[in-house]
Amino acid sequence: MMIILFKTALLLSFGIFIVPKTWKYSLGLVLHIMVVVSTGTWAFESLVNGTQTIALGVATWSGPIELVIDSLSAFFMLIINLICFCGILYAGGYLKPYLPKKRSVFISLHLFSFLWLHGSMLMVTAMRDGIAFLLAWELMSLFSFVLVIFEAQKESTLKTGINYLLQMHLGFALIMISFLIAANETGGLGFKGVAMYFEQHRNAPLFLLFFAGFGIKAGFIPFHSWLPRAHPAAPSHVSGVMSGVMIKMGIYGIFRITSLIQNDLTTIGIVVLTIGIISGMMGVIMAIMQHDLKKLLAYHSIENIGIIGIGLGVGILGRSVGDDYLMLVGFAGALLHNLNHALFKSLLFFTAGNVFYATHTVNMDNLGGLIKKMRYTSAAFLIGALAISGIPPFNGFISEFLIYNGVLHHLPGAGFWMSLVGVAAILALVLIGGLCIYCFTKAFGMSFLGTRRMVDHQEAHEVTPMMLAPAAIIIGMILFIGLRSSFFGETVIQILQQLTGISSPAIMNDVVQSLTMVSNINLLLILLVGAIVGIRVWQQRQVAVRQGPTWGCGYTAGDFRHQYTPTSYAESLRQLVNPLIDYKRHYKSFAEKEIFPPPRTFHTESKDLIEEKTVLSWVHLIVKYLPKAGVAQSGLINHYLIYPLLFLVIIGLLTILNIL
């Protein structure tokens, strides 16, 4: 039944190209719902009754395709379905202005790719066989690429898209080669083969190869350089889905591989943890330096991936030292953070999309004071910001709390190195948390609070309920996780127990207990805030309340130009991290005898040094020097005859000298 539903949805997707422009979206929505229903049912079933296998009824080069849905796949499937559904809902509102502008083929291509991105991500989670997995994986990259270049008539967007495509292809190639290496040793192209390989050989090299491949998708530093480009270029519903779930496919892959590794655990754990810490720190630091709201969010994806990496790393280390608590709880934190990040990051991107929709800019230097024009949007953004900063009573805290718990629980019994590692992990998490607060007070304060900074966007207005609906759904989920965290903690730990085959009720109880406490306290907090606000309202009724100008320290002519700007807000941190970022300020200082100075402009920019060093320098080298090697096609027939001569002579010599 469900299989038919799923397949019909995928088949009907081609209909998007045929139906008239105005129906395309509705058709897309229906198809998405069909996909969500079918796969969601499977996911729930397999969460309840354990792994199930579904034959898709088509064969590819590696034989018939079948979806193997175990609890891990199911978990990710549910995330994908939720976010993609919200995304398509949001797209309905967001795409409206484009409908008249764009030719219908573009709209169809976009919606088609959105559906197929959804579908291919689901398949990625459910494929075990190598070729099928790789097909699904590359399809995912492909369709996300098409989605990114929605505005492809702009050269910058297209360039970004191509950059994205290339990096994804590189990642794909790495994964493919890793699979092939395993297959070459064991004869099985797929996760089975990988598992066998891990049993027989050293794990670290292959794992790291896989990690690089999946890491490019996930956006671990130094494989991150595509994120801050692609997300701002893409339309918001796309960046929401990409940053919310698509990069999680990389994490999914890493989880899969992690569940298979057998030895070299310490090395692997240390590497993953280190990369996680670096990604987390650098991600958030770079984020604070941004002016573009969506770029800031993109860097925060890197930071959150870093947190997940930390969770994974401590989990692996826990396994290596045989501390089940650390392993399970660390993994649990990482796994749950996938869900959490998917929720609040897509929420943030959708609300940022609302801002763009209303003001046609996401440059924080020009925003400000939106909260008075867009109450709901800004409230939603605030909740997202609190959640992503890992602040109770929202969901972000829960997963970070789990990771903390794992590490802290391990510390007392830890050996020398492990205690240092644990402290490092805690330190990183704390700093990331603090920097997140710094960053999102900036993001929210600068874009929504105060008064407008530059452009006068009087025309800005609250967006349609259609575009707020997904935000509402997600906020519901966020609060649900925050207030019923024990349930989710239990679920993820069960999933991990199935995955790792280690089950210990004691750990479960401990985690459930503390999570229950956390949730109750969150509830209490909300009630208390409510109470105080109530008292306050009552008190305000009693006394005189009036409006007045902001206190200006005696200076009465203050206007919006006196506000703090994103740049000045970031300044104090900037001085601390200057070596890490290539910071430039463009400003012409006053000349010696400049009596009537002309108006001046001031703006700053900060480069991503890691990207510069690791990626761009090489690429520039190749693009600059490789074409210079193209000297053969000189156009002179005489030259064309030299090549065969040389070829014959050289090969002949090599042959005679038995070198060849």
């Binding site: 193209g630 096609q633 000189s634 156009g635 002179l636 027939i637 005489n638 030259h639």
Partner: protein, 213 residues
């Protein structure tokens, strides 16, 4: 006798490499044709009549008579001296000699590499290699179409010698194909040659270098 012919052939090669006046090519080609006929005749006396006729066709009629005439017709007092490449005058002679020496070495090397091999006629082989490489050298060194044509024919001569040297007798079908091949390619090249001339007025191939990257 054979030795005499081979030596003359090789000398002709060296001369070809430094020719200045275009028309003196034709005589050389004719000469080479005749020499080839002589060699072929000595080689294939034993062979069947048809084959002999065939060789006659190929060498005397075609190589020695038709081709030079044809070339003379198409270049009819239009071009006298041809455009040189980087290597000029007697240097090209030096290089040609060098090539000849090299091919002697190769021949020698092969010879005592393969004592067993009765069929390999080292003299022919040497001449053939020399001719092929000299042909390539001319083509690389000169920039005008006539010389390119000439060089092609020189190479073909080399191939012919090679077939003598290796004594591998192809089926008639193939021999016909070879003849046809040289014939048509020279013909077609001649045709294009004319067109190019009409198009670019002079025959310097540097004109023919719009297509490049």
């Amino acid at each position: 006798m054979i030795n005499f012919l081979v030596i003359v052939f090789i000398i002709s090669l060296i001369y070809v490499s430094k020719v200045e006046m275009v028309k003196s090519y034709f005589g050389l080609l004719a000469l080479q044709g005749v020499l080839l006929f002589g060699l072929a005749y000595y080689e294939l006396k034993a062979g069947s009549v048809i084959q002999l006729l065939f060789i006659l066709m190929e060498t005397l009629v075609f190589k020695a008579f038709f081709v030079p005439l044809f070339l003379r017709r198409i270049t009819k007092n239009k071009i006298h001296r041809h455009a040189h490449g980087p290597v000029k005058g007697y240097y090209s002679v030096l290089i040609a000699t060098l090539i000849v020496v090299m091919s002697f070495l190769i021949g020698y090397f092969l010879h005592d590499e393969l004592k067993t091999n009765a069929d390999l006629q080292v003299k022919y082989f040497t001449a053939a290699t020399a001719s092929i490489f000299v042909g390539l050298f001319i083509a690389i060194n000169n920039r005008d179409l006539v010389t390119h044509l000439i060089s092609y024919i020189v190479i073909e001569n080399g191939i012919f010698l090679l077939s003598l040297a290796l004594g591998s007798d192809m089926p008639m079908f193939v021999n016909a194909a070879i003849l046809l091949d040289i014939f048509t390619s020279v013909l077609v090249m001649g045709v294009f040659f004319n067109r190019v001339k009409d198009y670019f007025q002079n025959l310097d191939t540097t004109q023919l270098s719009q297509l490049k990257d």
